[in-house]
Amino acid sequence: MAGLTFKNVVKKYDQNVVVHDFNLEIKDKEFLVLVGPSGCGKTTTLRMIAGLEEITSGELYIGDRLVNDVAPKDRDIAMVFQSYALYPHMSVYENMAFGLKLRKIPKAEIERRVREAAHILDIEHLLERKPKALSGGQRQRVALGRAIVREPQVFLMDEPLSNLDAKLRVQMRAEISKLRHRLQTTVVYVTHDQTEAMTMGDRIVVMKDGYIHQVDTPMNLYNHPKNMFVAGFIGSPSMNFLKVKLVEEKGRLWLVNPAFHLPSIEERREALTPYVNKEIIFGIRPEAIYDDAAFLEANPDWVVDVHVDVLEPMGAEHYVYFSLNEENVIARLDATSQAKVLQRHKVAFDMNMARYFDMETQEVIHRPGYQTAY
C-alpha cells in the first residue's frame, strides 16, 4: 500500500506543455479522481504514473520511492484502460492470469487469485470465454479483474465506464466504489464526468488546460469552489453566472443589473466592500432558485419576475430556462411548480447560497465557512 506524490511535475510534447507544474499528494488508500474537460491532461497524468509516458521534469514518488526512471512493470501499479485493452486471443482466465504468469507466480496461487477476483466481479461463468464473446459490461469487469489479481499498490483507471450505456454506468459506478472499500488500495481514477467524480472520489482534482484548479472533497468543490471554472464544472446543471454592479444603498449592498435589484446578505458585507461600485460576477446554482409561495413570501427582497423560455420536465423536478439581462439562467424547480412556457413567473434567488467572483481573476471572493479537507 502506498500513496503518491507529485513534485513540480511537468509534461511536454515537444514544446507543447500539457501538464504544468503539477503538485499533489495522494494519500494511501485514497480514491482520487482527476476530472476536467477533454484535453486537459488527465490521461497524460495517469500515464505518467503508470510509466507509459516519460516525465519531462519534476519528481514522482510512489510511496517513498522516486519512480521517474522506474519501468512500468516495476512500479507495482495496475491500470484499467478506457478501451479495456483485453488480449483478444486469450480467454478471460488467461487475460487475468497473464500478468501473474509473467511474474512467475506459482500456478496454484494464480488460480486462487483469478477465481477469487472472478467471484468478486461475478464473472466466474465467463472464465473460458474470449473477450469477443463478452458484452461491454462484462469486458469492463474482466479489465477490472485483470487489475485486481495483480494486488498492486495503486490502481489507475482511465475513464473505465465511458464505453458503457447510462444505466450500466450507474451500476458499475456503485460496484467500483464497493470494490474499492473491499480492496483498500489507492486508486487514481480519471473521468470527464463530474457526476462520477462527485459520487466516487474521496478527493477530486479539477484540471483545465494542464493546470490544477482545485483539489478538494466533493462537497467542498460543490459548496466552496475556488473559481468560476470549478463552480461551473461541478454540479449539474451548471451554476448560473450573472454580471452585476455592486452598489451601496440604504445601508445595504445591492446587486444591480437592468433585470433585477437584489440585496446581498449582511454576512458578506465585509468581503464585498472593496468591490462597491464595481462589476462582479454573481453565481447562483439552479437548485438555489425557488418559486414556492412560502419562500417567496418569506423573502420578498429576493424575488425576480422572469419570462420562462423553456421548461424541461424531468419527473421529480422541472428545469426552467429564462434570461436575465440577456444572460441565460437555469432553475431547478420542484415538479409542483406552476411555471409555464412563454409566460411570466416569479422566482426567488436564495441569497444565502450566492457566490461572488472577481471579474478579472475569476477567483471566488470570500469562501465563508470553508475548511480544507485535510
Binding site: 484502460f81 485493452a85 474470449k130
Partner: protein, 302 residues
C-alpha cells in the same frame, strides 16, 4: 428438387444478374481447366496435334501419361526440388519479411524512405531483376565472385554447379519475394492496437514476451494467409528459374512448372505437359485445403 425449384422461383432475378459473371468465369476458368484435363489424357504431341492441312490424330490414352510420370525417377527428383525450393523460399520470405516489418513498425527518422527502398524489388519488373542477378552470379565477371576474390576467397561456380545453382535461384527469389511479406506483415502489425502493448507493459511483459505473447498470436491469421499465398506463388514461380538458370545445370534447378513448360515447348509433348499441369494443380488444391482447414480452426479462436 422441390427446394431448388422454390429457390429458383424466389431468386429468379438474382440468377439473371449472376449469369454474365458465370459466363465469363466459364470461358476464362472452366474451359481451359477442362480442356487441360482432357488433353492430359491424350498422347498429343507436335506431330499429331493437327495443323491447317493435317487432321489431328492424337488418341485418348486414359491415365497413360500419369503412369509414365509417376514411375519416372525425374518426376520424383523434380518434386523434391520443388518442395525444397518452395519451403526454403517461403521460410526466408516470411522470416526476413517479418523481421523488416518489425523494424519498420517502430517510430524512427526516415521511416518512409526505408519503406519505399524496401519495396524496390517489387517495383522493378521481375525479368530485369532476374537478369541483374544472373549477371551478378557470373563466374568470371559477376559482382559476387569479384567481391569474394577481393576478400581472398575462392570464386563460386554459381550457375554451373547443381547445388550452387539452386542456392543462386533461391537467393534471387528470396530477394524478390520479401517486399510482399514485409508489406503484408507490416499491415498486420499496424492493425494490432497499441493499447494491448501498453497493457502488456503494465502487466510486466518485456519486449521479447510482448513479441511472443501479443504480436505473434495476433499476427497469426494474416501470417497464415500470406504464407499460403506465398507457397502457391513460389510453387508456380516460373520466370525466375527460367531466366536465371533455365532449370539447369542438368535439371538441377528444375521445378514442376518449368519442367511442364519443357515438356510442352522443349519436347513438344502437349499431353504430357498437361498431365504435369494437372498434377501441380492437384498438389496445390490438396495443400490449400488442408492448410485452409487448419487456418479456419485458428480463426475460430478470435
Amino acid at each position: 428438387m422441390n427446394g431448388l425449384g422454390k429457390s429458383w422461383r424466389r431468386h429468379r432475378m438474382a440468377y439473371l444478374f449472376l449469369t454474365p459473371a458465370l459466363v465469363v468465369l466459364a470461358i476464362l476458368v472452366f474451359y481451359p481447366l477442362v480442356k487441360g484435363i482432357l488433353l492430359s489424357m491424350t498422347d498429343m504431341n507436335q506431330y499429331n496435334m493437327g495443323t491447317k492441312f493435317l487432321k489431328a490424330s492424337y488418341h485418348f490414352i486414359g491415365l497413360g501419361n500419369y503412369r509414365t510420370i509417376l514411375t519416372s525417377p525425374e518426376f520424383w527428383q523434380i518434386t523434391k526440388q520443388t518442395i525444397i525450393w518452395t519451403f526454403v523460399n517461403v521460410f526466408f520470405h516470411f522470416s526476413i519479411g517479418l523481421f523488416l516489418a518489425l523494424l519498420l513498425n517502430r517510430q524512427f527518422r526516415g521511416r518512409t524512405v526505408y519503406r519505399i527502398l524496401l519495396l524496390v524489388p517489387w517495383a522493378v519488373p521481375s525479368f530485369v531483376s532476374a537478369f541483374a542477378w544472373k549477371w551478378m552470379f557470373n563466374y568470371d565477371y559477376g559482382f559476387i565472385n569479384l567481391a569474394l576474390t577481393k576478400l581472398g576467397l575462392q570464386p563460386i561456380p554459381w550457375l554451373s554447379h547443381p547445388t550452387w545453382a539452386m542456392v543462386a535461384v533461391i537467393l534471387t527469389n528470396v530477394w524478390l519475394g520479401i517486399p510482399f511479406m514485409m508489406v503484408t506483415m507490416l499491415g498486420g502489425l499496424q492493425s494490432i492496437p497499441k493499447d494491448l502493448y501498453e497493457a502488456a507493459v503494465v502487466d510486466g511483459a518485456n519486449r521479447w514476451q510482448q513479441f511472443w505473447r501479443i504480436t505473434l498470436p495476433l499476427l497469426r491469421s494474416v501470417a497464415l494467409t500470406a504464407t499460403l499465398l506465398g507457397v502457391i506463388w513460389t510453387f508456380n514461380m516460373f520466370n525466375i528459374i527460367f531466366l536465371v538458370t533455365g532449370g539447369g545445370p542438368v535439371h538441377s534447378t528444375e521445378i514442376l512448372v518449368t519442367y511442364s513448360y519443357l515438356q510442352a515447348f522443349g519436347e513438344w509433348k502437349f499431353g504430357m505437359a498437361s498431365a504435369y499441369g494437372v498434377i501441380i494443380l492437384s498438389f496445390l488444391v490438396v495443400f490449400s485445403s488442408v492448410y485452409y482447414r487448419a487456418l479456419h480452426q485458428e480463426e475460430k479462436v478470435f
